[in-house]
Symmetry: C2
Subunit: 383 residues, 2 copies
């Protein structure tokens, strides 16, 4: 067998901007964040959460940007949640002190990485489980690393993805966690209903979260009757935040998009009880080709995630027609001013989380000036 | 104004496998490439192209993997084409000696990067133009860098994206290129019709490419009548390859997907004249949660691009239901064997190019053994 391992030479790709640069000098395509909007969103949601007695655990999957996470913590978040061990490693290395992996781990090597991370001094770390095998693997990894982990039992409150379905399953897992002491300890429940956040109607979201709260309450009661303390119930997010804040069952909220925002969330009917969130995230592109019928921008499927719809121009007189790998075609509607070759345009993304993941840097700006340029965790953080 | 520039500490994320590892030990989610299938695809298409007198210019946008590009060159490709200056820099650094940027550049800093790259000894480099401003900017950048570049005039042969529409425009640009001598020289035309490659019917593709060939022939004749030599006509690709090979107008073919393949190309009606191409690319995931109704895999929108449809399980008795950021939900159909927690599964991607761009590494394997682990250019190569 032929083995190839020689590393290839690669150029260093510099960031698309430096602090102090004019915004319209940012190299394109680039992810840009309006810091005034983002800061206002963070302050507004944190204020409402505090008033409702809810902790905010900022969802790091949304931005994968340790610098932004540290700002959310400085603004009152108790820490972050993440979906992957790689993300946990990345946020911990940057100094985030409280991290929840909102996901199940089965692979022994991933369990070992998490167990080793749990040994980092001053770090509060936890993960989710929905099967006794995950409990066993995490316990074995912690024994090997000589560390301890807290775990949350994930329950399915309507997401139909991960999570146990019955109280009996939850009790069996809780017992397995108890047997794995002192390596593992039960912190509480994950009751996450991401789908509900994207239901368009205010009443639909309220109904879905009310049902989720009911399910979570039943599991909590059954576990407590079984002798298991449930100290935390984690879940919720930007789209259904007022519903979770009012339910009285969640102790912490996994909000992520609120610091960024996208077209999908903005398509929700506005809940009068929700904080007013402004579009903070954008992707800056430039016009590289044009004719009377359309213009072509220099970012496409490798700059915008389109799983939740196409991005949008901020000028409503221009319509996004199509995206290919590195191009977006836009066409003028009535009253549109012509675009110039080289002109920079910020588009709003359809879905913020996977859009951020297409970029190496977030360029934070205020007004027309770049204030900060932050690295985003590598794509390998998905592992 | 507050300036933030302190770099954050980041962990090094190791590759998902090492050469020699068993395939089922690859850390998930991971991009995997069946090297037997990829090598066979490359050999088959190169053989047919050679028989038709066509050069193959492997499209580096498909995989952004310099190691794979060098293999394609070793297998007979004349070099690569790319869409971005960053890609050109990445492939050149790895030793690719003939690179065409199949795209227009307007931004002076991008023109300067390309002009500087043109000074690399032994590198044959070119870019496309469809407006006199691009000619002017490239000429200025080459004058500043004291280098020379070849350019291709892009003509719209049906793609309705970039490219000039009229012979008069092409003649004006050719004259501008001539005035920019010796900094710039006209190599020929780019006549790319990417849309035609995804028309499902064999006759539809044949018609679209016949029309494109007709348009390209008219432009070539007009430019030659105007005294401009057209040495190369570049275009085409995996989906419409037999049509371009038979047209007698193209001198080189910009095929990229053929080394990887995806569900979108496989949805095309098979052209009996086309090389038989096997699915070489996949994304390996693992089961992290399961119940009777479904299983949950550990890769989602951050591992699979879904612009051209959802990925597919290789076992047709399992159906992909939905993807979220880091999860894919799959459900059993009649006769399906249950999946085990931790079980690894390779899924076929809907669209190869933006799927590759979600990963840091390609894990090349033969049979059940990892043979090579190759880095993919950073996301910043889109600039």
């Amino acid at each position: 067998m032929k083995i190839e391992a020689a590393p290839l030479q690669q150029p260093a790709f510099p960031p698309p901007a430096r602090p102090g640069d004019p915004l319209d000098a940012v190299d394109t395509p680039a992810l840009v964040l309006d810091l005034d909007a983002s800061d206002a969103n963070v302050a507004a949601l944190h204020r409402q959460a505090a008033a409702a007695g809810l902790a905010v655990r900022a969802h790091g999957k949304a931005h994968r940007c340790p610098a932004l996470a540290l700002r959310q913590v400085a603004a009152g978040a108790i820490g972050v949640c993440v979906q992957k061990v790689g993300e946990a490693e990345g946020f911990a290395a940057a100094g985030v002190r409280d991290i929840l992996v909102t996901n199940e781990l089965v692979d022994p090597s991933k369990c070992q990485r998490l167990a080793r991370l749990a040994g980092q001094p001053g770090l509060r770390l936890a993960a989710c489980v929905d099967d006794p095998l995950q409990v066993q693997r995490l316990a074995e990894a912690c024994a090997r690393a000589d560390t301890r982990l807290e775990v949350l039992i994930e329950i399915d409150v309507g997401q139909k993805r991960c999570g146990v379905e019955t109280v009996e399953q939850a009790l069996a897992i809780a017992a397995a966690i108890q047997r794995a002491a002192p390596r593992l300890a039960l912190r509480g429940l994950q009751a996450y209903h991401g789908r509900a956040q994207h239901l368009r109607g205010v009443a639909e979201r309220a109904d879905a979260i009310a049902r989720a709260a009911g399910v979570a309450g039943e599991f909590r009661a059954a576990l407590e009757r079984g002798g298991f303390a449930i100290r935390e119930i984690s879940g919720g997010g930007t789209g259904s935040f007022p519903n979770e804040a009012g339910a009285g069952i969640w102790t912490e909220i996994q909000a992520g998009s609120y610091a960024l925002m996208d077209l999908d969330y903005r398509a929700n009917a506005a809940d009068p009880a929700a904080p007013q969130l402004r579009q903070a995230l954008g992707v800056m592109t430039a016009v590289i080709s044009r004719r009377a019928s359309h213009a072509v921008l220099d970012g496409g499927l490798k700059s915008f995630a389109v799983d939740s719809g196409l991005p949008a121009m901020r000028d409503p007189r221009w319509r996004v027609v199509s995206l290919s790998d590195e191009h977006t075609v836009v066409e003028p509607l009535a009253g549109a001013q012509p675009l110039e070759l080289g002109q920079r345009l910020i588009l709003d993304p359809g879905h913020c989380d996977p859009t951020v993941n297409l970029h190496d840097w977030i360029v934070g700006y205020r007004g027309d000036r770049v204030e900060a340029v932050w690295p985003i965790l590598p794509r390998s953080a998905s592992r």
